[in-house]
């Protein structure tokens, strides 16, 4: 899977814009780290990343990538499970056992890296920061966050 394809798929899976997932001035290289992890033998069963890439091609060819992901990825049990793990990578930096269903209370196998933890999207989505990694100033918690990331579409 190419970096661009992975990034564009991640945009649909996360709901975050490409400017977050693969910014032009990319100091974090978070997408690269995740893709490298996914393509390291042993982390994802052989062939699954190729299947995901092929499904993504079909999803984009339909002209509506969100509907395409529903049709070609989320409707396929194996690819949906992999997509769930990719969402959890982006949102929390954690990786779960692909062989078991992701359910409330699943134990993570690993945190990909400290960087992946700090870049987790879950925190900014609710106007917060990763626990243990605040770049805010004293007293910020006394007032409502200026915005939630990204802004709700409505």
């Amino acid at each position: 899977m190419t970096l661009n394809d992975f990034a564009n798929l991640s945009v649909v899976l996360t709901g975050y814009p490409l400017s977050t997932i693969l910014p032009q001035l990319d100091t974090q290289h978070q997408a690269e780290e995740f893709l490298e992890f996914l393509q390291t033998p042993g982390n994802v069963p052989a062939g699954e990343m190729d299947n995901l890439a092929a499904a993504w091609q079909k999803a984009t060819a339909s002209g509506d990538p969100v509907q395409g992901v529903k049709t070609y990825i989320m409707a396929d049990v194996t690819l949906a499970r992999l997509a769930q793990n990719i969402i959890m990578l982006w949102y929390l930096g954690v990786w779960y056992d692909l062989a078991t269903p992701l359910t409330t209370g699943s134990f993570a196998i690993q945190v990909i890296s400290g960087k992946a933890y700090k870049n987790g999207l879950a925190w900014g989505t609710m106007g917060a920061h990763p626990m243990g990694y605040s770049e805010e100033n004293f007293g910020y918690w006394n007032t409502v966050p200026p915005f939630l990331n990204p802004q709700p579409s409505n």
Binding site: Y96, T104, M126, A128, M131, G132, E136
Partner: protein
């Protein structure tokens, strides 16, 4: 085997109380040696600890500090329900395997003891929340006021000047006017070093929503919690602006298990100051293993220790530390264990004529209530807790049931239900949400999460105790703590009252109780046909209590052993009752009180 030079004082433990006493003695020109069981602290350790925390799949209070099999510590991951009869611990012949499999404690039940601690320089201050509440005057006289528990051998007024001193050393942010509840008084013109920490949005919502609500005739007033974290400095009475050289709190929402920027006090600060007096030496990776007694005079003559180089390696040295005075500041469980395992000359152990060493083990069992607010309160921002409800800490109900304080949590359902991890697993794995739908769900649900923690009082009970395990040892061959623990009906009735308070509070603010699965704590119990869940608060108290009567207490009010004239035993183990506040500030105040007594003792003998 080596013997140290003759010091004025030998201190076992470079944690909170040990560092405080070492500093005071060092300032007074006394020569001090600290024996610290764990690893030293260097300035780059914090960054390593933080990275270890980031990489931990379970973000527990212990997560930043990896297990040290030569000075092991318990982990909350090992706290489980205990079968009846308890199962024997796994693989006790192989300490490392055994600790990895079943945890450091040998839990004998019937309930598991839910609290943990750290064993490294700075002690459990490494995973301290930062709460610096004073006890209320009636906490010191529970027996004479309410007919339960015991009285302390000191009053609030006796401790008040030491509270002042502890608050200055820690650097406490609080507002005097807010803290004067249930008879708490302050010295004339007293000011805390820093202004109160600004309240979170949740604090503000609860303050407003509970304005006209009372329980047991106590109004549910929300007040700022005195915090050992840096806020805006006050101008002190001598005209100087308080400045401890540390940074302002950035609200990392991670006080436990580690403040990444040391805006929060920890005991390495005072430990470093102690070492800088030039009068204090420290031996790291040096585990006290036996207290030697002159049976003719009753005096302590030395403390034997074992040393190691790596956390899972073999013993590499041993020795005996000698001095005029001996101070055990090793944590409530470790101190009691050391006293009891030093039984080669005194069969019942050192300082144990009363039979009370290791007994009266207490915590503040926590009842967690969590739910969703009707409007966003934006959790996961700011310090883990900035306010609480303290008005519930005293009243005539203490005749029959435990008091509690209510800690308001700023970390959503993180503690009770593993948020945000668990909810996200459900959204993504079970509901199949992705993209904008996922964002909308998070932005609707997570910003409304809140939780309350009721810290419930526990009475001293002889049947709650720790002893050195007869069979299970750590990697140095030192016995591990065997714990017997339960909650009595007085505390259980406190849980019942707490749940009733939750109904009142949630009703007043239109909150919806959560139906999320709770994180398993092992602390499930029933009381009057209702099920409750107890969590550890990390407040380990009572195992070498002080008192007025040497037949029922281990030390006097100066924390000097009744049995051994040159032995002091300090820390939260000194508490005769659990009382109604997080214990750390009181423990440090007591350590300063003990320091004065030790210095006076040394000067008398000089």
């Amino acid at each position: 085997m080596s013997t140290t030079q003759n010091y004025d004082a030998i201190i076992v433990g470079g944690g909170w109380a040990g560092s405080a006493i070492a500093w005071k003695l060092g300032l007074a020109g006394k020569k001090v040696l600290i024996l610290e069981a764990g690893i030293p602290f260097q300035s780059d350790n914090r960054e390593e600890f933080v990275e270890t925390f980031f990489l931990a799949t379970a973000k527990t209070p212990e997560a930043p500090y990896t297990q040290n099999y030569n000075a092991p510590r318990p982990s909350v991951l090992d706290i489980k329900q205990i079968p009846n009869p308890p199962e024997p611990p796994a693989d006790c012949s192989s300490p490392i395997v055994s600790i990895d499999k079943g945890g450091y404690f040998i839990q004998q039940g019937p309930m598991p003891f839910g609290s943990t601690y750290e064993r490294l320089a700075g002690g459990t201050s490494w995973h301290w929340l930062g709460t610096c509440l004073r006890l209320v005057p009636n906490d010191f006289k529970l027996k004479s006021t309410y007919g339960v528990g015991v009285d302390w051998p000191i009053s609030y007024n006796d401790l008040s000047p030491y509270y002042d001193e502890a608050e200055f050393e820690i650097g406490v942010s609080a507002d005097v006017d807010e803290q004067m509840i249930h008879g708490i008084t302050f010295s004339p013109d007293y000011i805390y070093p820093m202004q109160r920490i600004p309240p979170s949005i949740l604090d503000q919502v609860l303050t407003e929503g509970l304005k006209n609500v009372a329980i047991d005739n106590n109004p549910l007033t929300v007040t700022g919690t005195p915090a050992g974290r840096n806020g805006v400095s006050n101008i002190m009475n001598d005209g100087t602006v308080y400045n401890n050289g540390r940074r302002l709190c950035q609200g990392n929402t991670n006080c436990t298990p580690i403040c990444p920027i040391q805006a929060k006090y920890d005991a390495t600060i005072t430990l470093n100051k102690a070492l800088q007096t030039g009068n204090v030496d420290i031996l790291y990776q040096t585990v006290a293993s036996n207290i030697l007694i002159d049976t003719a005079t009753g005096e302590v003559t030395g403390i034997e220790y074992k040393q190691y180089e790596t956390k899972n390696g073999p013993q590499t040295g041993s020795g005996t530390a000698t001095g005029s005075k001996y101070i055990i500041a090793a944590h409530a469980i470790e101190a009691a264990k050391l006293l009891l395992m030093s039984n080669s000359q005194l069969p019942a152990g050192v300082a144990n004529t009363s039979g009370q060493v290791g007994r009266n083990l207490m915590d503040h069992p926590v009842n967690l209530s969590w739910g969703s607010m009707p409007d966003p309160v934006y959790p996961f921002r700011g310090p883990l807790s900035t306010s609480g409800i303290e008005t519930t800490r005293d009243g005539s109900f203490r005749n029959t049931r435990a008091a509690y304080r209510i800690e308001i949590g700023n970390e959503g359902w993180n503690w009770p239900a593993g948020s945000p991890y668990t909810q996200l697993q459900g959204y993504v794995g079970e509901q199949g949400l992705f993209g904008q739908d996922l964002i909308s769900q998070i932005q609707h649900d997570f910003v409304r999460q809140f939780r309350l923690g009721y810290l419930i009082e526990q009475l001293p009970e002889e049947t709650n105790y720790i002893v050195p395990s007869a069979n299970c040892k750590d990697n140095l061959g030192i016995p591990r703590p065997e714990i017997h623990y339960n909650l009595d009906d007085y505390t259980r009735a406190g849980f019942q009252a707490a749940e009733q308070a939750t109904v009142t509070i949630f009703g007043a603010v239109n909150a919806t109780p959560s139906t999320a699965n709770r994180v398993a704590t092992g602390g499930e119990f029933t009381y009057q046909n209702e099920t409750y869940y107890s969590n550890g608060a990390g407040h380990v108290m009572g195992t070498h209590r002080m008192g007025d009567d040497k037949t029922t207490s281990v030390t006097d009010a100066n924390m000097k052993s009744w049995d051994h004239d040159n032995l002091y035993i300090v820390g939260c183990g000194s508490f005769p009752t659990g009382a109604t506040a997080n214990p750390t500030l009181t423990m440090m105040a007591l350590a300063f009180k003990a320091s004065d007594a030790i210095i006076a003792d040394l000067d008398l003998n000089a």
